[in-house]
Symmetry: C2
Subunit: 137 residues, 2 copies
């Protein structure tokens, strides 16, 4: 196993997840993905490498990663869930033309707050929709 795969393996272990080949591949794919993939994107790519790969495994794995806080779900489009590796808080931009989702780093005025209107905050999500840089040309 090369060093990249070793890193991914220890990342799984760090989150208390037993590193299986399928899980390594799923995590690797999400990490290297520029876009924010759906379960189906992940399946379509991995099934090339692992012909026996099942969609259910993808869903099982993603739900496990979610539980362990390794990934975060993005529900911007409303018709599908997209996933990204948990990192520092940031926002997203969905291009209405090409469908791509970009990361956006902006300051949220409530990022340090524990509450809004008396409600206890656990997660903060923000996103923009519009036409991306590339599609504007």
């Amino acid at each position: 196993m090369n060093t990249k795969m070793m890193n991914i393996k220890s990342e799984l272990e760090k989150h208390g997840i037993k590193p299986t080949y399928q899980r390594l591949c799923v995590l690797e794919f999400i990490e290297q993905s520029q876009d924010h993939p759906t379960a189906d994107h992940i399946y379509e790519n991995l099934v090339k490498k692992i012909p026996t790969m099942s969609r259910t495994t993808i869903y099982n794995t993603l739900n496990l990663f979610l539980e362990k806080g390794l990934v975060v779900p993005l529900t911007i489009t409303g018709t599908e869930v997209r996933y990204e590796i948990t990192t520092g808080q940031h926002h997203h931009f969905l291009c209405l033309k090409c469908g791509r989702i970009y990361d956006v780093n902006i300051q949220c005025p409530l990022s340090q707050s524990k509450t809004v209107d008396g409600h206890q905050i656990q997660e903060i999500h923000g996103y923009f929709k519009g036409i991306c840089k590339n599609c504007l040309n």
Copy 2:
């Protein structure tokens, strides 16, 4: 028709939508709803008053309202689309315990911006997840 219904009727006309009975009822229901209803919520309520009501009519109507800018879709949960009347920009709070969505009025630092990172902004969405005021007790 009472004055409330007259207001709803003129609201439809203002947006270039022919006011039919079904459309009046859908718009009325969304307006009076404290929560932010799903298509199914709307259907389940209206079918009591209009026994012939079809789910397809609800979806047709909602999509028409969306096109005309009368309502806005909320895709917070990822498993369903919720709707609210288009009003001034505001954010939302989803309670992870009771599932209710609250309106939240905060200032977004980019609310007047036309772009982020070179991408052209058309819509701004923000929401929080956590435990709501009521469920904390």
